[in-house]
């Protein structure tokens, strides 16, 4: 593990991503300390530009503090990103592992199902699902998870297909290990590296999908989100550009941080790509 940490510390993009992510998480966690009041509350005169006295990022057309919205929105964006990714990975890993390990007709059935989901444009499907189940935190997380698991399933299946042929798996079968034990403790740990890398990138995608949904007015109205702020500010873009630009920048930084972090993980977890080959 120390070797892992040392190599990750040596990866510059990974470290930049990690530092940005830590700052974002700290910001989200301390939202109630920084801006203890409701971000929906009118706090000042409308359309104040950034860096006005008392309002770091100015105010919107209803006089709400943009900085408060950004800080509270970080909480929502990160939460939805992580929750939906965890759900998607859970489903994807199970489907992929079962398909890859058992192969044959089980594989055929599960992969046709996966392809069914893959052929539908994912953002469209997410919109339809949220619209049907009415916008709420749960329905948004579910919708994002439903559209994101197929790539994970395919990845895990491919890893399993190759790993199940390895001698150490055969050795476990000769030893009489149960199928569950072989899948969970013999094969899965060896298949996880690419999944972890993909997961970090998936959080970024989930945040983008959530922002897109909120922008279209399909967000949960109990919580302020970056996508909603952009959507609300877009009508004012010529008079008050910062209402759209600042939440946009927040999304950009978050997605960039996750991508850098994912790339760093990939460098560390795929030593074949980063380390020179031995002869």
């Amino acid at each position: 593990m120390s070797d892992f940490a040392r190599r990750f510390l040596g990866s510059r993009s990974g470290m930049i991503g990690l530092v940005l992510l830590v700052l974002l998480v700290l910001m989200a966690l301390s939202a109630d300390l920084l801006y203890p009041q409701d971000p929906w509350r009118m706090a000042g005169r409308p359309n104040l530009p950034p860096f006005t006295e008392g309002f770091l990022f100015g105010t919107d057309q209803l006089g709400r503090d943009v900085a408060a919205g950004i800080v509270h929105g970080a909480r929502m964006s990160l939460m939805i990103g992580f929750a939906s990714s965890v759900a998607a990975i859970g489903v994807g890993v199970v489907v992929g592992a079962v398909a890859g390990y058992f192969s044959g007709w089980v594989d055929d059935v599960l992969m046709r199902l996966t392809e069914f989901f893959q052929t539908i444009p994912s953002f469209m499907l997410a919109i339809v699902l949220v619209a049907i189940f009415s916008p709420s935190l749960e329905s948004i997380v579910t919708a994002i998870a439903v559209v994101s698991w197929p790539p994970i399933a395919r990845l895990v299946r491919a890893e399993f297909l190759s790993l199940r042929q390895r001698d150490f798996v055969k050795a476990a079968r000769v030893g009489g290990h149960s199928r569950t034990n072989i899948i969970v403790s013999q094969i899965l740990p060896n298949a996880l590296s690419p999944v972890i890398v993909m997961a970090s990138l998936m959080v970024a995608t989930a945040i983008l999908i959530e922002s897109g949904l909120s922008f279209l007015g399909l967000g949960d109205r109990n919580f302020i989100t970056w996508g909603f702020m952009i959507g609300a500010g877009r009508t004012m873009i010529r008079h008050a550009w910062w209402l759209s630009a600042i939440p946009g920048l927040a999304i950009f930084v978050t997605v960039l941080a996750l991508n850098l972090f994912g790339q760093g993980l990939s460098d560390v977890l795929n030593p074949r790509l980063s380390r020179s080959t031995r002869t």
């Binding site: 150490f168 055969k170 030893g175 013999q186 020179s276």
Partner: protein, 542 residues
Amino acid sequence: MSRPAETTVLSMRSLSIALPPGADRALAVSDLSLDLYRNEILCVVGESGSGKSLLANAIMGLLPNGVRVASGTIDFEGTELTTLPANRYRKLRGARIAMVFQEPMTALNPVLTVREQIDEALVAHGVGNAAERQRRILELLDATGLPDPETLQHAYPFRLSGGQRQRAMIAMALALEPDVLIADEPTTALDVTTQKQILELLREIQQRRRLGVLFITHDFGVVAEIADRVAVMRLGELVEEGPARQVLDHPRHGYTQKLVAAVRGLSDTSGAAREHRSEPVLSILGATKTFVTATGGFFSGKRRRVEALKDVSLDIAQGETLGLVGESGSGKSTLGQAVVQLLELDSGEIRFHGTPIAEMPRKERERVRPKIQIVFQDPFASLNPRHRIRRALTETQVIHGTRRADALAQAERMLDLVGLDQGALDRFPHEFSGGQRQRIGIARALVMEPELIVADEAVSALDVSIQAQILELLADIRDRLHLSMLFITHDLRVAAQVCDRIAVMQRGEIVEHGNAQEVLHAPSHGYTRTLCDSMPGKEWFV
């Protein structure tokens, strides 16, 4: 056999090749001076990690990223190669110095036909017009002994057998009539009978064209078969160099003596072959297995049938070692897998102490299964890279109901038996060498106190000196624990050393079966005779 009168074509002086920082050692090749003459075969011999392949790559100017020539010179007929610009190197490579690789399937482009690949080399170096090139291609394919060049030139690599691919590879290397041919383990991936043919072909072409051949190998048998001169490398250093006969028969350096002894030791069968008359531990009766694979897509309904086992019957007595010898595709591994219940037979049965395993009640089968264990070929794939050795050795025991403390004590005993210390328990597989991992693989098989061990090419992936150690270890453990062993191998030399009886398999059938000495020294079946004759360096060590 050396011809000092011949001129030097390739001359290396104080050559050092540096590895990237963090590698096992600083220099892959250090301070090496070696000459290759016209019209000779110079064998560079060494175990894995000796730097012999990097030497070949350095000559070709194909060193991998991060590896570079640190000092010294490589002179090719007056041209200094180490400082040659890339564009001039390209003209030289292929045209004057050509190379044949170990694995012809990956060295050939899978989406081009044989003709297209040779043609490409000719076009790249601007040879003749289309008609002339076509004539040359047919000539080359004919010269390398490929059947029916007219038709075969349009074949894709996957249609060819391993030997044919290597012939096509050689044809390609010879296309521009090079002066020097570098062959990097060209026969290691081939079956012995094919190996013999390819070695003969290389020898014949070398003499006909008066080539200088730098032949890289790990196998002293191959050296005895083909070399004029030998250079022995160890950890990047040249330890001995001289005419083949002299090095083989009177090695001066201790390391060479050790390697030669390891090969000669393989042919020493005096210790093996004991009689066993007890009841068989395992009987295989009429084992038959056919693999059916779909080809040509889901709806075409085309099926390819491969008969891996055809009515095979064998017995193994207690304490006995039965060798199962055959080339790739003979079905020997299929049989091994069936014995450890990794695959089901189509018909026939496998009996353990007289009871068919398939007919046992589930409880009984679960109890019996760990009594038949397997040791795999590749020590790098046979241990779970994410598990410590402690877990690898105790997990299966715990699953079968052993208490954790007892399982650990057993693991420690078995580690001791295979010659590793307790410190190994807390380490991961990647911290061990190939030979050590194979020892761990054996310990893993032993912790279940098996009665029968299936050793599936258990020493094939190891260097000769390690191979000898592991074989000794297996024989020792077998005698001490009164184990029976099914020893699967493609190498008759190895089989002769440890086996009491040998069964020779060809295309799913046992063609000859008997006492190891008889099978080896007085083979009755034609195929066994071919196998025996194909053993590289046979005249030298028998």
